[in-house]
């Protein structure tokens, strides 16, 4: 009983903190993006202002929308992404919740929030939202392939190379970084998997070059075209959270190193230092993996994105899988 209560309390506190950090990182993203374009950019707290403003604005439900789906979708989307953080170990902090197949659950939680957005788009009763929802579905079907390959390969490698712990559990990867376990072929394979996972991130978070479902100059923000007020605020939170969540998962899988113990810290200070270091890694990954990419490229068309994920990224992930398997044999 006390265990459940502790988890409930710590989970609530953590999610609140994560929410703030995700919005802050969104602000950093916008600022860095602007600076790279030689613009001044918004204040770093701008996303906070945006979200707070949207929460007090009128929530308009279009006449042709299916109201309960339309209103329910943002709630489901934001909840599903928030749940992801309950399964991610942050630094030396163990995850709040843990099962035998965390990584698979996380992949499904991402998919759930995307499906919620698609449902909201279809329920909007707007042709633009409809197209946006169709595109999001196609995009999902495309990037799930490399994503699945990466996740299963990592679990298989962890299992076969005899790393202690559940192979589908993020704590396993954090406890023993895979880079140290693998030989040179394995390291190459891991690098390939890392690159293909990073290629999936823009599509997961709906940023250029994969903001196809929200393309504002084509279909006027597509999916979220009809949303306003509280619902839009929740979608904004969803996008910010997806960005941080995706980067947090990548950090846990590929860059799990901690800083606290090497600094000789113990107790609460160790937890705090590792926690901060974890979020610093997330920030760096977000800046280099998302912000830089979205500054450097234009938007794909949906079939081009599909092709990119099935052929190029899928091929790279497969190459990584083969290299890691060869490494296990060697």
């Amino acid at each position: 009983m006390t265990d459940i209560l502790t988890r409930l309390l710590s989970g609530t506190a953590l999610l609140f903190l994560v929410l703030l950090l995700a919005i802050l990182y969104d602000g950093v993203d916008r600022l860095v993006h602007a600076r790279m374009q030689r613009r001044l950019g918004p204040p770093i707290l701008q996303p906070f202002y945006d979200v707070m403003k949207l929460f007090v604005k009128e929530n308009i439900v279009p006449r042709r929308a299916i109201a309960w789906v339309f209103n329910g979708a943002p709630l489901l989307a934001v909840t599903a992404v928030l749940m992801v953080f309950l399964y991610v170990p942050m630094g030396s902090l163990p995850p709040i919740l843990s099962t035998g197949g965390d990584v698979i659950l996380i992949v499904y939680l991402f998919a759930l929030s995307a499906v919620a957005m698609v449902a909201g788009g279809f329920a909007s009763g707007s042709p633009y939202a409809n197209i946006g929802a169709q595109r999001e579905m196609v995009l999902m079907m495309s990037y799930e392939v490399p994503l699945a390959i990466v996740v299963t390969t990592l679990a298989y490698f962890a299992y076969r190379s005899g790393i202690p712990g559940e192979p589908f559990n993020l704590t396993t990867f954090v406890a023993m970084p895979l880079w140290g376990v693998a030989g040179w072929m394995g390291v190459l394979g891991l690098a390939a998997l890392f690159v293909s996972l990073m290629a999936v991130v823009p599509a997961e978070v709906g940023k250029v070059p994969m903001d196809i479902a929200e393309a504002k100059t084509e279909i006027l923000e597509g999916l979220i075209c009809e949303y306003s007020g509280r619902n839009l605020a929740m979608f904004k939170l969803t996008f910010a959270l997806r960005n941080s969540a995706m980067c947090a998962v990548v950090v846990s899988l590929f860059f799990p190193w901690n800083i606290g113990s090497s600094l000789g810290l113990t107790g609460a200070w160790l937890l705090v230092a590792d926690f901060l270091f974890f979020w610093l890694k997330v920030l760096l990954l977000q800046v280099f993996g998302v912000t830089l990419i979205r500054t450097a490229f234009g938007r794909f068309k949906i079939w081009q994105a599909s092709q990119f994920y099935w052929v190029q990224v899928g091929g790279l992930a497969l190459a990584g899988m083969i290299l890691l398997s060869l490494d296990l044999l060697a």
Binding site: M36, I131, V138, V208, T295, K301, Q304
Partner: protein
Amino acid sequence: MSAGSHKTYRIPIGPVHVGLKEPVTTWLDVDGERIVKATVRPGSIHRGIEWMARERNPIQVIYLAERICGICSFTHIVAFLRAVEDAAKIEVPIRAQYIRSLVLELERVHSHILWAGVACYTFGYDSAFNLGMLLREKVMDVLEALTGNRVNYGVGTVGGVRRDLTPRAAKAVREMIEFYRREFQTFLDVVTEDPIAKARMRNVGVLSQEDAVKYCALGPTARGSGLRVDLRHSSPYEAYGDLGVTPLVPQDYNGEVFGDVYDRFFVRVMEVIQSLELLEKIVDGIPEGPITWEPKLPKVLSALKAADGIGWGIIEGPRGDDTHVVKLTKGEENVTWWKVRAPTYANAVSWPLMFKDQEIADAPLIINSIDPCISCMERILVSDARAGRSEILTRARLVERCREKTRRLMGA
């Protein structure tokens, strides 16, 4: 998207749309992402400028003509002035012709850079858009140094220009040429070598050479389809006779011509570089002399009052041929009638062809690819509030009404 069934649905692009600079509606019948049919419906921004001109004398109309377009404003007034000078048989001094060409080329530079930026923005390449806007500031500064204004320069007048090219301004122009030679290349590289930019523009919105002829495409739209048409070459006006302009077509650089958005993009960015060369020649070769035929306005006005006849002015604007026709009547101060045919009017006709079998994602890019200037184009407004009906005029009826009006105006 759904296999087998081919149910199409309609989505509007416009009249107000993030990807468009000006209001125009395009109804797209789409099957999944594929465009089956496109119907272009202009008519959202008619302003009745030609009618307003009939209560003004030619000098006043200059400032009206300048406000036809916010980007190619000088193109419109030079076309108008040439029409008036043609009607009144006024000679423009050579120095004034050079200054007109100078401002026209500066305008072409800023228009093309603006367009290139907006095209990048349309396919989500915001960084290139911002870079383009940043580069464009330089030419805007030079225009301001030269004329005192950033957009509507107000330097044209009947029989010449109102501002001379001072040595300081000439230096600013030279500096600008150097600046663009240095900086513009990065923009060109960024966009033409970017794989996504190429994937988004290649084989999109194709207008074949035959169709470009058949549908009377003009300017960069026609040149992007491989037609060697350029009024600066085929019928030189102002100082262009001395400058030797050759039409810039993609096949001269890339070996082949696709007639797609990429080619139109390529033609425009290369024309910026061509314009820099022309600017250099203009600044080097500008002769000394007066800048107007007659500096005293009352004298000009009385000469215009005495003039009688129809004058034509056709020049190559940044978007294509801009045609102005003016009728002046002896003894009347005001312009009797004035007809403007902006390049978009001709280019917009080829929109439905370009839309064929493209995707929704391409639609705003295709609309933007001819660099539409909707408020330049819009001339016809049909409304009958009392009867409460809307009517679309057929071509035959329009021609008939047009002739009717012309006969009435000419007092026949």
